[in-house]
Symmetry: C3
Subunit: 139 residues, 3 copies
């Protein structure tokens, strides 16, 4: 049994940017030579999240609409009075969705469904440099 | 330390079907003979999720009402224009709730609360065959 | 590779109480002497959750407002008819947010962002004694 800690670094655009990181995390698994175990993903920071969905243009728009409905950008949040950076909505969206995800792997492959992509959800209202920790525990 | 990858296969009814899988995952733990470690659950596919709640009829109805309020079934979603299978709401619900869960175990028992059941949430609008990956890391 | 299972016990106030447990979980990591691995958190019970957000007064109020908007306390839920303890909203909030979280660590430190605190969200409508399981797998 081994443990391997890698990371993905990427630049996001902000203003709900949904980035497909499935290939990037799959490459980390291939390079590790591990065949069976658990991959954990964790995004560092409090205005982004990790999620999974079918990565196609219609659903990308639906996910944006959903978060705009549940936690609208245009409203004034108490957090905005603290830092005056107007991203209270970003924090709330990230907290609700969550920063971490677990994906099992076997025979050297992630056990994702065919239409189940791994997505970094950038909820901040500006460009960011993001770090996603990819940790593998397995054999 | 060992790693064991098992799966549960089950047929769901669709149209929000909430299935209690607590006994099924507990049996996998018993069979493993492991006493201390981490169980991870992951549902394969993009229209179902894993959650926990007190599995009683009132709350089952409340959970259905909640998702109907947050992400109504009757509305037109952009995803529906892509595949014309009218399950955009299913994808959104599954993405918001999430496909994975971690439960620790000790002395051979899952450390769940008495009223805390493990539930597969089938959000798709039709019958499905589901695969839940149950992975144990421990000793 | 080792596995260590610890717990945090704390008394909460109820009526959305958001408790910063970042220091408590960091101390468990320091005491373990592990340097690289995965920390999993799991709250026992069905009316509390684990989340992460920037722990400052404005955002604490925003998080309370958000859950009050998505799942209002004042409404009658089916669950309330089952037990007559009027905490149906607590169960729904806990289920939506989720009981578990994974945080990776390296060089003996949790890889959290500077503004990313770990928070126990007590959603019950009364004081509770809570148990958070903190499990470390690593080396």
């Amino acid at each position: 049994m081994k443990i391997i800690t890698e990371e993905i670094r990427l630049a996001t655009k902000g203003n709900p940017d949904l980035v497909n990181i499935t290939d990037a995390v799959s490459k980390i698994l291939s390079s590790s030579k591990l065949t069976q175990g658990m991959m954990s993903l964790f995004v560092v920071g409090s205005t982004a999240a990790i999620t999974t969905f079918e990565y196609e243009p219609g659903l990308i728009e639906d996910i944006r609409d959903l978060f705009e409905k549940l936690i609208p950008q245009g409203r004034q949040y108490h957090h905005d009075e603290t830092w005056h950076d107007a991203n209270g909505f970003s924090h709330l969206r990230a907290s609700l969705q969550g920063p971490s995800l677990i994906i099992p792997f076997k025979d050297g492959k992630l056990l994702l469904g065919q239409w189940q992509q791994v997505v970094l959800a950038e909820f901040d209202n500006r460009q960011r440099k993001r770090q996603v920790i990819v940790q593998l525990i397995g054999e």
